[in-house]
């Protein structure tokens, strides 16, 4: 196993790629009773057209299949549900689907880890889809879609994506629509399963008090033999650099308007992405973070009640900056934000301010290592982006003021910005 150590935060990660292609990452952590395992496949809601390596068949799938598949993986041939089995062991089990991956996980604070591992590795490797169980799931997922329909924050985000993207599937609801899921059948689920749930498309991450060599053997023992598979060719719509629309507004049951400013960025380059990510986080905090002039002004006028949520979100297929919050005057906030960006571009970054925010961001990264769950989820999500999570700590000092200024000029351009607003009815 390849060992990477971060001396700054005193943690190590063990990396192994098995012959069948499965990536395994183990982050041993002493002094904790919690163990967290997460097994993910690089298959998310945006992967809706691909060529199956086994048959060379091109497959188009309805929106929402990755998420539907996630729901259906728990059902077993013998009539049991693996989620129930794991819960019965006292394990906190769950699964989730994002734009670019699907993950199955449990957290253990007892001696039942290996019993849980039996179940997890068994159900992820043994799908069981029938017409009947697929039909039944449509009711449950339909309710889930409707629940999100009432969620203003969710709508706000989707509308932002709709502003930024013309065709990229990131603008669609991960769960699909009631209409799109009605077309899902066992055949399409099996096709996706057989393609994307191959070890070569998956990463397994474990964090907790383990001896990595022993754990690796335990994982290997539970892997079922599978023939090697070639690369999966994924076909994505070609996305233009421009944004789709400047703004989108909707009305929902909210007390005060909510807004999200989006900035579309070009597709990330794996070499640079960690550095760029750090620089963008520093910039967002300098522009509108807690100690910024703009935040102070907007707080004092009662236009912002709390610090906005600041994020740089990216996968291999998309990248964008998001600034979200709640305000009586969302349009004004958007204008002021754009003005502040121009001012920063013109005046350059203040040295003291830059260094102070860097210290803050560094502390945020260190704090992520408080929980085995956060660590494991971070390593998994980063691995699908081609990133080793420790790089955020290790490359930290390479982010200079000059570099950050350059990123400001490159990324924060007005013609790539849009705003989504939800107002009270």
């Amino acid at each position: 196993m390849k060992i990477i150590e971060s001396t700054k935060i005193k943690e190590k990660a063990y990396f192994e790629k098995l012959e069948n292609g499965l990536n395994i990452i183990i982050i041993p952590k002493a002094n904790t009773n919690k163990k967290y395992i997460i097994w993910g496949t690089n298959f998310g809601s945006i992967d809706n057209r691909f060529i199956m390596p086994q048959t060379n068949e091109e497959v188009f799938i309805p929106d929402g299949v990755a998420h539907f598949l996630e729901h259906k993986m728990f059902e077993q041939k013998n009539g049991t549900n693996s989620l129930d089995v794991l819960m019965a062991l006292g394990l906190e089990a769950n699964a989730y689907t994002t734009n670019d991956h699907t993950a199955y996980l449990f957290e253990c604070s007892s001696d039942k880890f290996y019993e849980g591992l039996d179940e997890l590795m068994d159900y992820v490797q043994n799908p069981y889809f029938t017409n009947e169980n697929v039909e039944k799931e449509k009711g449950i997922i339909g309710q889930e879609i409707m629940m999100y329909d009432d969620d203003p924050g969710f709508k706000l985000y989707l509308n932002t994506m709709d502003c930024l993207y013309h065709k990229n599937a990131v603008k669609l609801d991960i769960a699909g629509t009631i209409e799109s899921i009605s077309k899902i059948d066992p055949d399409v689920l099996y096709k996706c399963y057989n393609t994307f749930y191959h070890p070569s498309n998956m990463t397994l991450v474990v964090c907790g008090d383990f001896k990595p060599e022993d754990l690796l053997e335990e994982i290997k023992k539970r892997l079922q033999p599978k023939e090697n598979q070639g690369e999966i060719k994924r076909i994505y719509e070609i996305e233009e650099d421009t944004i789709n629309k400047k703004s989108k507004e909707a009305n929902m049951e909210v007390s005060t308007p909510i807004f999200m400013i989006g900035i579309k960025d070009k597709l990330p380059n794996t070499e640079e992405i960690v550095k760029k990510h750090i620089a963008i986080e520093v910039l967002l905090n300098m522009l509108i973070g807690k100690s910024s002039n703009l935040y102070k002004e907007l707080y004092n006028t009662g236009d912002l009640l709390a610090e906005p949520d600041l994020e740089y979100e990216f996968s291999k297929q998309y990248a964008h900056v998001l600034v979200g919050g709640q305000s009586k005057n969302p349009e004004m906030i958007y204008e002021k934000f754009k003005d502040e960006v121009s001012k920063f571009k013109k005046d350059g970054l203040n040295e003291e301010h830059f260094e102070r925010i860097k210290r803050k961001i560094y502390g945020d990264y260190v704090t992520e290592y408080n929980s085995v769950a956060d660590i494991a989820r971070m390593f998994l999500a980063d691995s699908f982006k081609g990133i080793n999570s420790f790089d955020y700590i290790e490359k930290f000092n390479t982010v200079t003021k000059e570099y950050t200024q350059q990123i400001l000029n490159e990324v924060f351009s007005e013609d790539k910005m849009a705003v989504s607003i939800i107002k009270p009815k």
Partner: protein, 423 residues
């Protein structure tokens, strides 16, 4: 045992949790008062005004800058209902000195800033700064209005309000817009001075901290200047008498939503101390896990709901059943829920169900020390219930619960309120 407490003065308690599980240290100060319509809005406003500035750091911007320089120390404050008390909570989290890129001592600095925020507020003309009070009144108003934003939470809050009409627990933790009008910087400051003299104060530190932190606290000028007090608060473990109701009250409200939120507020009429453990297990079997009756029968088998579960409110002896459903399925879901309650009464659950519930609770309680603020919250709730049950003993008591005891709880459950949020 990694937990120690010491009375600094009557009514002022210091709690220390030693743990090396984290990269951070967490400091907290809790001020506990009785829930009361008279003071609830003032307390909520106070938390917001205090974080605006201290004698040394006059503005929020200066506080933020100091915290950013301390490697992004995180400050948070707010109000919470805990049983019949309202607790004003202040937290500060910072990186443990060991993980800093340079040699610095952040923990001492942290403690000082936190104490300053609570006990050394910025004043102008011997009262709170007018601008801060006015601004925070406006903010709090928006927060109170924002109650409707999260529909599931709103339905739950409304159900509690209806269940505890005219009782302290029915109060909304952020207070009331109409009560805000009469508050100004002068009378809020007078209220604050009185509060600081009489309120129950708990100071928590959690992390890999030096033993001498306790002497640092004792020698702190602010602590030295605080007077002894006989704090007025409600001990949470005292028996709650509940009245039998003939028929549950049924309330429905309309909003523009697509998914209905159905909440059932149940009373646990048994109120022996040990019953809290029985009711915990009962709740898990009824609706507290993916194996529960609610999840299995209402969500999975009948496909009636996306969310279906229940939670047990220990301090008030209530169980709340919560479902997100298709609006026309109201009657059908309600019928099915009542059937689950009946099954519980009939003892229609297996030894496996009981064991699974016990394992789940043990594992949840057992992992409390894995999160710094959960561990603080656990010891604080022991403090408020005026008894001490260690995490190990808690798990032991859960494991002693029998089927007969769970059935006894089931027979002593009544539906108090049915609340439905629809279109």
């Amino acid at each position: 045992m990694n937990y120690k407490k010491e009375n600094l003065k009557q009514g002022i308690t210091f709690h220390k949790i030693n743990t090396n599980k984290f990269k951070t240290n967490l400091f907290a100060i809790f001020l506990t008062t009785k829930l009361d319509r008279e003071t609830i809005t003032k307390n909520a406003l106070l938390a917001a005004v205090l974080r605006r500035g201290t004698k040394k750091l006059n503005t929020q911007e200066e506080i933020s800058k100091s915290l950013e320089n301390m490697y992004g120390a995180n400050f948070d404050c707010g109000v919470e209902k805990t049983g019949d008390n309202q607790v004003i909570k202040f937290y500060l989290e910072s990186i443990n000195n060991e993980f800093l890129p340079s040699q610095e001592n952040l923990s001492k600095e942290c403690l000082e800033i936190l104490l300053d925020i609570v006990f050394n507020p910025f004043l102008e003309d011997n009262k709170f700064k007018q601008e801060y009070v006015d601004g925070e009144k406006e903010n709090l108003k928006q927060i109170i209005q924002g109650k409707i934003d999260n529909k599931a939470r709103y339905a739950y809050d409304r159900c509690i309000e209806e269940m505890y009409k005219n009782e302290p627990y029915g109060l909304y933790k952020y207070g009331y817009i109409e009560d805000l009008e009469n508050i100004n910087s002068q009378n809020l400051y007078e209220y604050y001075l009185e509060l600081i003299k009489t309120v129950k104060i708990d100071i928590f530190v959690s992390g890999d901290l030096d033993e001498n932190i306790i002497s640092e606290i004792k020698e702190n000028e602010i602590i030295k200047n605080l007077e002894e007090r006989i704090p007025k608060y409600n001990i949470n473990n005292e028996n709650i008498q509940k009245n039998k109701v003939d028929e549950p009250q049924v309330i429905s409200e309309s909003m523009q939503i697509t998914q209905g939120k159905l909440i059932l507020g149940l009373d646990v009429l048994e109120n022996k101390k040990e019953c809290k453990y029985w009711a915990s297990v009962y709740n898990i079997i009824l609706g507290g896990s993916a194996n529960s009756k609610m999840f299995q029968n209402v969500r999975e088998k009948a496909s009636l709901a996306y969310s279906a579960g229940s939670s047990y409110l220990r301090q008030k002896d209530n169980i709340f059943i919560k479902c997100g459903i298709d609006i026309p399925n109201y009657e059908k879901t309600l019928g099915l829920i009542k059937e689950q309650l009946k099954q519980m009464e009939n003892g229609d659950f297996t030894d496996d169900d009981i064991n699974n519930a016990k394992i789940l609770i043990s594992s949840t309680v057992g992992s409390i020390p894995e999160t710094q603020d959960s561990e603080i919250t656990y010891y604080f709730s022991q403090e408020l219930s005026d008894e001490f049950v260690s995490i190990e003993d808690y798990i032991k008591k859960i494991n002693e619960v029998t089927k007969q005891q769970i059935i006894e709880i089931a027979k002593n459950i009544q539906i108090n309120t049915i609340y439905f949020l629809k279109d």
